[in-house]
């Protein structure tokens, strides 16, 4: 019984899309659903750095996308622009919150639609914390 609840506790972060690690980086987030034929999608991460030093988000990958990368949307003088954003540093004790209209994980060459209510497997790489394996919930809007 005790061992089972411990195992459940260990599972909790996976269930909620968060993945704590030894370096103090905790990642959660969500992805927006897509429809058949749509080749690009977006996911939004929340990265908390509980560690003693800064860390840098250096890459993302997903088995359901041919290519994935962090991009940043910006409205500059009324014009929507999107540019790659490689290597986002998160200082110790700070949080990076990706949100619509700003930083996002761009998923390209989707092999299957991201279905509402299911999850997106995603690997996030950090310079110090290494890799985090996530399953992000697929939903229409950010978690409240």
């Amino acid at each position: 019984m005790h061992r089972r609840s411990l195992a459940l506790l260990a599972l909790m972060p996976t269930l909620f899309g968060a993945a704590p690690g030894p370096a103090g980086i905790v990642v959660s987030g969500w992805a927006r659903p897509t429809v058949a034929g749509q080749s690009s999608g977006a996911a939004y991460l929340v990265v908390r750095n509980f560690g003693p030093g800064a860390d840098t988000l250096v890459g993302v990958a997903s088995p359901v996308a041919g290519m994935a990368g962090v991009h940043r949307s910006q409205i500059v003088g009324g014009v929507s622009r999107m540019r790659p954003a490689d290597g986002i540093a998160i200082a110790a004790g700070k949080k990076l919150t990706m949100a619509p209209g700003g930083y996002h994980v761009m998923l390209m060459g989707l092999k299957a639609p991201l279905k509402l209510g299911s999850t997106l497997p995603l690997t996030v790489r950090f310079t110090h914390a290494g890799q985090r394996q996530l399953r992000l919930p697929i939903q229409m809007s950010p978690p409240q």
């Binding site: 927006r32 659903p33 749509q38 949307s73 014009v79 929507s80 622009r81 619509p100 209209g101 809007s141």
Partner: protein, 219 residues
């Protein structure tokens, strides 16, 4: 005698014919003058199909257009006659700003509480090379609410973007699909039932201001 009557009858028939011609020409001339007078921008630009450039004093945002619908058939703006509509330019490989904007327009439309389509939402791609009718159609379906997805030839899209003062540019991006992304004007354009441009909704604008404008075009 007979020659005499002939001499007098010939001028009267000529006069009658002249009178008929004059009365035939006068209304036509009046119509031409009226059209030229009522449409000074067309008259001064000298071209009927080309509208004034954005920035010129004669520029009127919007106007009739023909693009291609999700069914692959021509879509004329005449189909929007009598309905208010909101136009947004984007592209289907845009995973962030475009779906955010369309989802927001759908949400605001529901918040108006005036039925399913108190105004039409028109999505025009600025990336017709990749976005065929099927692509814009399935993209428009993403939002579980009626959205009209439109594409066209590059020339058609450029013309419609220009007449709506929408900036668009292809930007190289090695990390994007096909090696490029699109910069595009991000404002939503609001049109009244008469097809006349009323206002824009900017990305950074709050919901209250946006709703007030949507109420205006649907009043």
């Amino acid at each position: 005698m007979s020659s005499d009557s002939n001499q007098t009858s010939v001028p009267t028939t000529r006069l009658r014919r002249l009178r008929l011609i004059v009365w035939g020409v006068v209304p036509v001339a009046l119509v031409v003058v009226a059209v030229l007078w009522l449409r000074p921008s067309v008259a001064t630009s000298g071209a009927v199909t080309q509208r004034a450039d954005p920035g010129s004093p004669n520029f009127q945002l919007g106007g009739p257009f023909t693009l291609t619908g999700a069914d692959g058939k021509p879509f004329s703006s005449a189909k929007l006659a009598g309905q208010p509509y909101v136009m947004f330019f984007g592209f289907t490989h845009c995973p962030d700003v475009c779906p955010n904007t369309l989802a927001r327009l759908v949400r605001l439309r529901q918040q108006l509480n005036k039925g399913e389509t108190p105004f039409q939402i028109v999505f025009v791609t600025v990336d017709p090379e990749r976005d065929n009718p099927q692509a814009v159609g399935s993209y428009a379906k993403l939002f579980n609410s009626p959205i009209i997805g439109l594409t066209g030839t590059r020339a058609q899209i450029d013309q419609v973007a220009k007449q709506h003062a929408i900036y668009e540019a292809k930007v190289p991006d090695a990390s994007a699909p096909d090696g490029y992304t699109m910069d595009h004007g991000a404002a939503a354009l609001l049109f009244g039932r008469d097809g006349k441009f009323v206002a824009t909704i900017a990305q950074e604008e709050g919901d209250d201001a946006a709703l007030a404008k949507l109420k205006r075009i649907t009043a």
